[in-house]
């Protein structure tokens, strides 16, 4: 379903994201005609209230124009020879003036209340109207696009699939990206307008996933994989091939296992309490504050459920932190997490770090766990959920801006995924997330330029805005998922525990404990003359 909603907490800019929700237990059914009828009722009511406000304002004006002389003209007075026909005029005493002032104030209030009610009512109507328009637009756009594609394909004589969609050309994804934004960006750059990376990324948003899929098909050939050389390669194979190159030199520079240690929360740092999906994402966002936190930090929060129930846990996992010294949230971890092989995913440094933090925090095997991750952190969350069945009771995985289409979640684990159009990162999986009852994906379009300096709308704040818009407009599946997270995290939260995870450099050769070298034998002086050789007998 598609819907539009207002900006949420921390929403960058004023523009309301347009969101699409996929997955969940059942599709939303919306009678748009009936909603339009209701919008009409609300708008008519708002107009009536505006008229009431005008009436209150006019009453005030009329009342303000009344003075003592108006009443003097109406008061009956006995006619006396030689005196004026009008009653004598005297100003109002204080109690009359006060009574009028109270009536004036009340008229003011009437106008203000009615105006405010009209504004609120119009706002409700406008939001419903926006939602209706997006519902209808999405349906019309889909129908129109299919019709257009079919007609163009037929005109060009392209082969069609049984469902009427043209079969893609071999280079179609590359051509789409070039036509969709690369050419326009290059032309703009040649005109002297500068190379607008943001425009390039956002204008090619729809083609990211097909392009990644196409590239992976070829890059994946370098991966041994399984199933024979004729097997179609995917993103996991490409990641595996790149991972084996070890471009960051991780294997040579660092020991196999990272070190994860608990750190105290610095004074003055107030970390958000994770009580629902939104506040859990806010906690993830807070981990990026490298001015007050050391970076490469994971947060674990225990939620007390009372004396008779086991506690629940929420683990907040940030994304890639390039430039952070010895961070586990590296490109090497990214490639490992995208590998087709689940064992290689589970061996990613960031996964090891999260598991170490969970173990240190004391997460028990029967205690519900909610994993929340942004970008790489989302992949870590999905990987931890998949690799700890029987060890931890992960119940829900919330990801934002994470390429997790290729990450299967085990039975009993729900997934709520938030993505923004044009951010590119969540398209790196080259596919759409599975839309199943257990997995709901919200995709939103936000204005990246309103988000400050970010090149693309990949920040946590953008994803929170998208989630808020989707929650506001509503989708049954999403509602159930968000309620599930709230239920899991309901209780008394403990303080957030922070864990810093770092790679450990391999010792330098001089630092190694070497075996003593064999003692050198004294060199004997050479005999005079050149050595001669003679054959034996």
């Amino acid at each position: 379903m598609s819907a539009r909603g207002p900006g949420g907490p921390g929403a960058p800019g004023d523009a309301a994201p347009v969101v699409v929700v996929r997955g969940g237990t059942e599709p939303s059914a919306v009678d748009t005609a009936r909603m339009r009828e209701r919008v009409g009722v609300l708008r008519a009511a708002a107009d009536a209230l505006d008229a009431a406000a005008d009436a209150g304002g006019l009453a005030r004006v009329r009342l303000a124009a009344v003075d003592a002389a108006d009443y003097r003209a109406l008061a009956p007075v006995p006619r006396v020879e030689g005196l004026s026909e009008l009653a004598p005029w005297t100003p109002w005493p204080p109690h009359v003036a006060h009574a009028r002032q109270r009536a004036l104030d009340a008229a003011d209030d009437v106008a203000a209340h009615a105006r405010a009610a009209a504004h609120d009512l119009r706002s409700v109507g406008d939001r419903m109207d926006q939602a209706v328009r997006v519902y209808d637009d999405a349906e019309l756009a889909a129908q129109g696009a299919v019709r257009e594609i079919r007609s163009v394909a037929r005109a060009l004589g392209l082969p069609l699939t049984p469902s009427g969609v043209p079969r893609p050309l071999p280079l179609a994804p590359v051509l789409d990206v070039v036509a969709g934004g690369v050419l326009a960006t290059l032309v703009a750059a040649l005109r002297g307008e500068g190379l607008d990376v943001r425009r390039l990324v956002s204008s090619t948003a729809a083609d990211h996933a097909p392009l990644v899929s196409w590239l992976s098909r070829w890059m994946g050939l370098a991966s041994p994989g399984s199933g024979g050389p004729w097997r179609a390669r995917g993103v996991g194979d490409a990641a595996s091939a790149l991972s084996r190159l070890d471009l960051e030199g991780r294997a040579a520079r660092y020991l196999p296992d990272p070190v994860t240690r608990r750190i105290t929360t610095p004074d003055g740092v107030a970390l958000p309490v994770a009580a629902d999906a939104d506040s859990a994402l806010a906690l993830v966002d807070a981990l990026y504050d490298t001015e007050r936190l050391p970076g490469s930090v994971i947060a674990v929060q225990r939620v007390d459920k009372g004396p008779d129930a086991p506690p629940a846990w929420v683990v907040a996992i940030p994304g890639t932190q390039l430039g952070q010294d010895r961070t586990v949230f590296s490109m090497t971890s990214n490639l490992a997490l995208m590998d087709a092989d689940p064992e290689r995913r589970a061996g990613a440094d960031s996964v090891k770090a999260v598991l170490a933090a969970m173990q240190d925090a004391g997460v028990g095997p029967g205690e519900d766990v909610v994993l929340v991750g942004h970008s790489q952190g989302g992949m870590v969350a999905a990987t931890v959920a998949a690799s700890t069945v029987g060890t931890y009771a992960v119940r829900h995985v919330v990801t934002a801006g994470a390429p997790v289409a290729g990450h299967a979640l085990p039975p009993g684990v729900a997934g709520t995924h938030v993505e923004t159009q044009g951010e590119a990162i969540s398209d790196l999986d080259g596919a759409e997330n599975p839309a199943t009852p257990a997995r709901v994906t919200v995709t939103g379009t936000v204005d990246a330029s309103a988000g400050g300096t970010s090149l693309v709308p990949h920040g946590v704040a953008h994803h929170r805005a998208v989630l808020a818009a989707a929650a506001d407009v509503g989708d049954r599946g999403l509602d159930e998922h968000l309620a599930d997270v709230e239920t899991l995290l309901a209780g008394t939260p403990d303080d957030v525990r922070l864990y810093e995870a770092r790679l450990v450099p391999r010792p330098e050769p001089d630092d190694r404990c070497l075996a003593p070298a064999p003692a050198r034998l004294p060199t004997l002086p050479a005999p005079p003359g050149s050595p001669t050789w003679s054959a034996g007998p």
Partner: protein, 92 residues
């Protein structure tokens, strides 16, 4: 609180102001009744809850406007009677 005596003569502006305020009362009450019939939309759970909450807020706002308009009519009556009594007193 004493009930003001009935007024017998009023300037036309006061009559029109009272008519306007009574109209505001009727309008606000009509809107509240209309809104009560607009709560039967069946759409997604949280959105429906948001919609109902918004309507409740608007209904409360309308009720406040209506109540204040009724109060304003009473205050206008009080003022008008006091002003008329003052004019009569001055005419003696």
């Amino acid at each position: 609180m004493s009930i003001p005596p009935p007024c017998t003569a009023e300037p036309v502006d006061v009559v029109l102001a009272r008519r306007g305020l009574r109209g505001a009362v009727e309008t606000a009450e009509t809107v509240v009744r209309d809104l009560a019939r607009s709560v039967d939309l069946d759409w997604a759970g949280r959105a429906h809850a948001s919609y109902l909450a918004a309507l409740d807020a608007v209904r409360a706002s309308c009720a406040a406007a209506s109540g204040r308009a009724q109060e304003a009519v009473g205050l206008l009556d009080t003022f008008s009677c006091a002003a008329e009594a003052h004019a009569r007193e001055a005419a003696r």
